[in-house]
């Protein structure tokens, strides 16, 4: 029983990190209807910048997280400008192929020797891991940090989307580009901003991930990226609470699979869920059914 509860907590930790990535997927999808394949690699860049921040540049952890967020939001905006904007009115698949290209580019570019190098790096944690035993359940300080960071970021996002002008603009653009433009919303800037925020969230997720599972390499973003995407689809893509809900479910499924079945099966099960969701309820748990328009 204690083992089970420990795994639930571990799953929550993983799920909350997936939530940070899934938010970027879901926001970008909401605004430009694009599956941003490169998102997982932005997460990777965030992890690396954070790692350099607290190991080599001597930054404190919160400062390292903020640096990573800043770098990645610029990266996200540049990616959108170069690779997606010229294709905004092209067929969906063209943009998807471009996104795949950006993803591969980031992975291989970061593997070059003068960038990050192709090898695994072990992250030396900036602080000691501590274990607390609360009524038989083990909780680490890292889990507490992850929990509160994600909570704060979610509240910030909620505030931004529903209490500010740019948030309203983002919600407007996600409904209809042309109507938003008619209402005086600067659509291009709003899309850039969405990419910036989504990438910043992924970067924060990346730094937390590097601290929690202390090993980073240029291809580390692929699997978390795809699983976070699965989470976004599971919760209903384009819906922000859905992304968080889906991510928490994915975290639990993955942790429980590796704890009680087999750790090799966890990827297969994650994608089995993805395919089943797409087939049975493509709008996701919180999504509403909209009929196809001719």
């Amino acid at each position: 029983m204690e083992y089970f509860l420990d795994q639930i907590i571990n799953g929550l930790q993983l799920g909350l990190m997936y939530a940070l990535i899934a938010l970027g997927y879901t926001m970008v999808y909401g605004v430009v209807k694009l599956i941003n394949f490169a998102h997982g690699d932005v997460f990777m860049v965030g992890a690396f910048v954070g790692y350099f921040g607290f190991t080599q540049w001597g930054l404190s952890v919160p400062l390292a997280v903020l640096t990573a967020m800043a770098v990645c939001s610029i990266l996200g905006v540049i990616i959108e400008k170069i690779a997606y904007r010229p294709l905004r009115y092209a067929p969906k698949i063209s943009v998807l192929i471009s996104a795949l290209g950006v993803s591969l580019f980031l992975e291989y570019f970061c593997s070059l020797k003068f960038v990050f190098g192709p090898n695994y790096r072990v992250v030396t944690r900036p602080f000691q891991e501590m274990h607390w035993n609360i009524m038989g359940v083990t909780i680490t300080n890292i889990q507490v940090i992850v929990f509160f960071t994600v909570l704060i970021m979610l509240l910030l996002l909620q505030f931004l989307l529903y209490r500010t002008k740019v948030g309203t603009a983002m919600r407007t653009v996600s409904v209809d580009h042309d109507a938003a433009r008619l209402m005086g919303v600067n659509v291009d800037n709003t899309i850039s901003l969405t990419f910036a925020i989504g990438s910043a969230f992924a970067a924060a997720g990346g730094v937390l991930y590097a601290i929690a599972y202390p090993q980073i390499h240029p291809f580390m973003g692929i699997m978390p990226g795809l699983k976070a995407f699965t989470a976004a689809v599971l919760g209903g893509i384009g819906i922000i609470p859905g992304a968080v809900l889906g991510a928490i479910i994915m975290g639990q499924v993955e942790t429980l699979t590796s704890a009680f079945l087999s750790s090799q099966l966890r990827d297969a099960i994650a994608f089995l869920i993805l395919i089943l969701v797409l087939l049975i309820r493509p709008t996701g748990i919180l999504g509403r059914n909209e009929p196809d328009k001719v």
Partner: protein
């Protein structure tokens, strides 16, 4: 009518013989060494697999990111069949094993395709991508069921029977098969589905059937290519059939131009050679740059020339007479990039 039919046949035969003779002559003159022979064979295998994806995506518009999974299934099942039943290097059994590879890939495609082909464009891509990853996990672990398959350590011991002659003949047969399929009633139904699924439905085309037929045929060709691969290169490893390999096929089909057999064939061969030439020119130290160059080519190509190099055009003899005035024109039957 009869005369023009023979005309195109003679041209095909002539071109084939010339290509074959040139390669063979270069080989006997020693201008193609073992290394480049391997590259050439790889190019032919790529051609067969890419033509499969060309049917699925280029002609029917069904976006698949899991093509390498079927390629791998074909490779492993054909390899396993040969390894178990063909220890005496029998050519008949070799052909049977190729068919087994194609059949396994086709059957799996049928089982998978029936449910997931209901999905549209990018969602279909994601679902096939997920399927590809599941198959890869399976390949890493299926030595627990059948030890001969080797799992994550790789499989060796298949008889090396596929040489250039075999590959050349099979590739040629596949090109003819694809050409005949594309201009058949089924093939034109596929193009109609690609252009507009609802309109095709209204015209009385059974869109589900059409999509499944195209998917199964395309995946069976991937399986055939895999079977060839298993008999040409002695070592099979799951990492040769991962997501990046699917991406390879996709790149060839997109760069060549959707809805163009010529484009797919030329790009498949050119692509494999380009990678090797890059390795040659840039040297071992620059091998790391391959992935970067690869990605940049794709991004630039899709932005600058989304219709691909050949943009739906075909070399004359790949188009049957009744269509020859239509193909490649702006309003032609195969124009457009699909969506």
């Amino acid at each position: 009518m009869q005369k023009s039919k023979w005309g195109s046949f003679i041209i095909i035969a002539a071109v084939t013989l010339v290509v074959y003779a040139v390669v063979r002559t270069l080989e006997t003159m020693g201008l193609i060494d073992q290394y480049w022979q391997r590259v050439l064979d790889q190019a032919l295998i790529m051609t067969i697999g890419a033509l499969g994806l060309s049917i699925i995506y280029g002609f029917t518009g069904q976006f698949s990111l899991g093509h390498a999974a079927f390629y791998g299934l074909g490779a492993y099942s054909a390899g396993l069949f040969s390894k178990v039943y063909n220890s005496d290097h029998n050519l008949l059994l070799f052909m049977v094993s190729l068919l087994v590879g194609a059949a396994v890939a086709g059957l799996v495609a049928l089982v998978i395709g029936l449910p997931i082909l209901r999905l549209r464009s990018d969602y279909l891509g994601i679902a096939t991508l997920g399927f590809g990853i599941i198959v890869k996990v399976g390949m890493d672990n299926f030595n627990k069921l059948i030890p001969a398959l080797g799992g994550a350590t790789g499989m060796s011991g298949t008889p090396q029977l596929a040489n250039f002659d075999w590959l050349f003949i099979v590739a040629l047969l596949v090109i003819i098969l694809v050409r005949n399929f594309v201009y058949s009633t089924y093939g034109r139904a596929c193009t109609a589905v690609r252009e507009d699924e609802i309109a095709a439905d209204v015209l009385g085309i059974n869109t589900t059937n059409t999509k499944v037929i195209a998917f199964v045929l395309g995946c069976a060709l991937a399986g055939l290519a895999g079977g060839m691969y298993a008999h040409r290169y002695p070592f099979l490893h799951p990492s040769s059939f991962d997501f990046l390999k699917s991406f390879d096929f996709l790149l060839v089909v997109v760069l060549g131009g959707l809805g163009s057999i010529t484009g797919t064939v030329v790009t498949a061969v050119a692509w494999v050679f380009l990678l090797e030439v890059l390795r040659f020119v840039l040297g071992q130290t620059f091998i790391d740059f391959r992935g970067v160059i690869y990605a940049l080519i794709l991004i630039i190509a899709i932005i600058v020339r989304p219709q691909g190099i050949f943009s739906g055009r075909e070399i004359g003899f790949l188009v049957p007479k009744p269509f020859s005035t239509l193909v490649g024109r702006k309003d032609g039957v195969n124009a457009g990039t699909g969506s």
